[in-house]
Assembly symmetry: C2
């Protein structure tokens, strides 16, 4: 009878996009969630701080019993929406490895939500009983320690979720991918593999994190002055490497940047990051040491304007200044969309006299995601009947699909889906139902969640392009005459002080329009004025700012 159970897989994030990863697995009325990530807005999502998954589906399916949220690793694109999800799905427990759990704890404490859930800590390799689900975690290598994938037992075979991974056979901390467990899954029969597609367009095999060691060793050996390394605040493997080099080359390590300082503190406490007390020094004290005895790890590898690296580049950091003789290493992948900001930061650091070392110049960074050969290996190791590429834009999912076909999975057994498209499985196999639940973006801006829609962003685009102009006309009640010069407010359009002629023309147009529209109703006069100003400005400047006219009857 068990084989009549209805198995459903509902991706709410990560399909057709990079980020905000979130996946639901249901067996009848029981469900678990894998990951609750955020996504960082694209350049044209103006003013949006964060994007979280639209998980209305879970809120609305009152019949569904959600037994737990399982986390693959501690990166923002897999954990960042936790406060929003925990807030709506109170009482649902979380499951995470020690580092991931510690990062989640910080996040939930900041949001005052720590009491609304429990965090169950497990070790990579542990088997979890989450409601009726038996989930076998397995260790994977990536760019943060304590990463896992999940094997979910179902009556129709296993569902294997890779998490973010690469096959690093020489990881810095010595902890290798759990090939044995993947092989065992294959032996027991994998129904469906969901594999990370981030680097599906990249041929070959992603270099080991150990390759970076060599590049750093050379930099530390040769640097005569201070060394500063910018990387992601969460990139604890890289920070470990910097600490190891500091020890080897007898430099003291200081940390700059709030998020990195907090992460290092936490990671040292739980033992994930191994840095001896005598190696580490307060940022404030680092200035008193000779330049060749100090290395700084800092935030801002994406050129984010408020992070340490950009502030160094613009000379606006409170405690640090770039000096000739400094060696600055940008040790991170540039997230697509950030190329300009990163490039500009590097240029500015050169201008301040530093030697800057970055990816195409030296191998100071490697990707944390599998390349094509590793993807084919994962498929062949687990030998699944069905395959669904996850974590990637459509072109990456398509590229991953191509690899799966090359590896022998028939095209009809591969599902290239988008968020919200539902898969079901029964004893005959897996199929796409055609059902689609909401799976879009929810914009978080300031403290508001979801109150920014496409309309508001569209307005921001128009404002960003040509600004706005507002003309306020006070007219006499009764006669309809303009009583004084109209008030003109404009921003982002032209520099008003240099635009005397234009202002005169606007005044003239306002007088004329008010004069010729005296007999009309207020709303119509307003419209007329708006049109007249619009025409005038386009003729004079070939630009189309937003125009607002206000006609006040006085």
């Amino acid at each position: 009878m068990a084989t009549k159970q209805k198995l459903r897989i509902v991706p709410l994030g990560g399909l057709g996009e990079v980020g905000k990863n979130m996946m639901v697995v249901e067996m009848d009325n029981d469900a678990i969630i894998i990951d609750t990530g955020v996504m960082f807005p694209a350049n044209d999502m103006l003013g949006v701080d964060l994007i979280i998954p639209d998980f209305r589906y879970l809120v609305e399916r009152k019949d569904l019993k959600i037994h737990g949220i399982l986390y693959t690793h501690g990166h923002e694109d897999h954990t960042g929406a936790a406060p929003y999800v925990v807030d709506k799905l109170r009482g649902v427990p979380l499951y995470a490895t020690p580092l991931t759990a510690a990062l989640l704890e910080v996040k939930l404490r900041d949001a005052h939500l720590l009491n609304e859930t429990t965090i169950n800590v497990f070790k990579p390799g542990d088997t979890l009983k989450v409601g009726p689900f038996k989930v076998e975690s397995f260790h994977m290598t990536h760019s943060i320690p304590d990463c896992v994938g999940f094997g979910i037992n179902t009556p129709y075979g296993m569902i294997v979720h890779s998490g973010d991974y690469k096959f690093d056979n020489t990881p810095i901390n010595g902890l290798k991918p759990d090939y044995a467990k993947l092989g065992e899954f294959a032996k027991r029969g994998v129904l469906l593999l969901m594999g990370d597609s981030t680097n599906a367009e990249r041929p070959g095999w992603t270099p080991s994190e150990s390759n970076v060691v060599e590049a750093f060793d050379k930099i530390f050996r040769e640097a005569k002055g201070r060394i500063m390394v910018a990387t992601f605040a969460s990139h604890l493997s890289r920070i470990q490497l910097i600490a190891d080099m500091a020890k080897k080359y007898k430099r003291k390590l200081a940390i700059a940047g709030h998020s990195m300082t907090e992460n290092v503190k936490m990671a040292r406490k739980i033992g994930i990051l191994k840095v001896q007390d005598e190696t580490i020094v307060e940022l404030g004290r680092s200035n008193q040491l000779p330049a060749n005895q100090i290395v700084l790890a800092l935030t801002g590898s994406q050129g984010e304007p408020s992070a340490v690296l950009s502030r160094l580049a613009s000379g606006q950091h409170r405690q640090l200044d770039v000096m000739p003789g400094d060696t600055i290493v940008v040790s991170a992948h540039t997230i697509p969309g950030n190329e300009e900001m990163v490039g500009r930061t590097i240029n500015a650091l050169f201008r301040r006299g530093a030697e800057v070392i970055y990816d195409p110049i030296e191998a100071v960074h490697v990707s944390g995601h599998a390349s094509q050969e590793e993807m084919k290996l994962l498929i062949n190791l687990t030998n699944p009947r069905f395959f669904m590429p996850v974590h990637g834009e459509l072109r990456m999912l398509r590229s991953h699909e191509r690899l799966a076909r090359q590896s022998g999975i028939p095209g009809e057994n591969i599902f290239v889906l988008e968020n919200g498209m539902v898969l079901e499985a029964d004893r005959h196999g897996v199929y796409a139902t055609g059902e689609r639940v909401p799976g879009g973006y929810v914009f978080v801006d300031g403290s508001g969640v979801g109150d920014i829609g496409r309309t508001v962003i569209k307005d921001r685009e128009t404002l960003a392009r040509d600004g706005f102009m507002m003309v306020i006309a006070n007219v006499q009640e009764g006669s309809g005459r303009l009583m004084n010069d109209p008030e003109i407010v404009t921003r982002g359009f032209v520099y008003l002080r240099d635009a005397d002629e234009l202002i005169d023309a606007i005044k003239r147009t306002t007088y004329e329009t008010m004069e010729s529209s005296k007999q009309l109703r207020n709303a119509q006069r307003r419209e007329r004025l708006q049109e007249a100003i619009n025409r005038l400005l386009f003729n004079e400047t070939k630009r189309r700012p937003m125009i607002f006219a206000v006609v006040n009857e006085v």
Copy 2:
């Protein structure tokens, strides 16, 4: 006595940036200009259409006799500012190779400036007499035909300007780089080499344009349906390749996109592009042919919203629709900053059922710029005493500097300058004077040149982030009482229809502020109101829209 002449080199563009290339070479009061390019705005230069060099220096130096503008090739970043420069420096003649001249002619005709100058056409290899300057042009390979560099004879040795180049030993049109001339220059003695730095961060040797032939051959051999190739409208070498493939595989070639259509017409007329009449077909007629007998060349390889490729992706092209079975090739380098738009366009084309082929998937594009080994070759071929890297952001110039040192040029003989920094030369050598002339950006927006400054762009940024809100309060003259509900206009902030509570709070705040400020002057009341609304909105939303309050006495 000739050796007392003062030789000056004044870079007005291309140093510290990619684009708007422009260089001045002066001998006493005589001068020539090399290139007058535009630069395309970065993502955060909101609403700016184009950036041209600030050439005030030339306009203001009335004593300087400008004898000509010499063009290296026909790309926008070297020719695009021609209408603006010709407009200000009327009567100065232009010098260009046939293709470049034809492209300049189109540009100047569009701007109604064709009668304000003369275009002197020369062939690569010709020696030009421009005023007192004797300039020897030499052919270089790049991604557009008819490219040259210049050797300028001076009493102190030659100044060699590379133009944009790569050393393509198997160019599609068979015309090779003029190694012999470069060697001859070396023999005569090169004082200063100025070399293109665009790819200075790239190791190795840039592949030949011929490598793309193989990738295209495979695509044409295997495609069962239509083939569409998106590339730059000016990339005539690529268009030639597509036409050759069309002929080989018995397909008809149609062109989509205004700029490409115009370029193809012009290039066929002057014989630069060789396409037989029977190969080409009108876009409108192409829909009547069987899918496997057609290939389209189209614009939009950068994901530009109004170009053909994006309109195909969004289903908004008048004459063309993407169909399953179509093979779409994106055959162009993605300009930094455009990655998101290009990626999104590719995703959308996949969604419409096309097979999309692009750079990391197949080698359908190669760079037109030299890589590191070619740069070292150019230095060694010309054997200059002094070296100045040009065409690149600071990090690229620095990287080129490193290559020059490796090639044996002493560090003190290399000048990493920024725009506007003046070099002088005499019989002792070349030196940086420390003098700096204006060399910044002039923004072109709509029909305005230079009336958009940093202030306006800053306002646009603020508007783009959080929008604006305007509150208009009509108060009774004398009593100072608010007479009716304030009028609220907002855009880009929140979607007002969903914000009832917020609107109520704004009204309340306005009443309270007007009530408590009755005794104050109008300007002060306005300020008070602005502050109160600002505080309210930040508390409620954590956002900071621009706020304008208007207090009308009625």
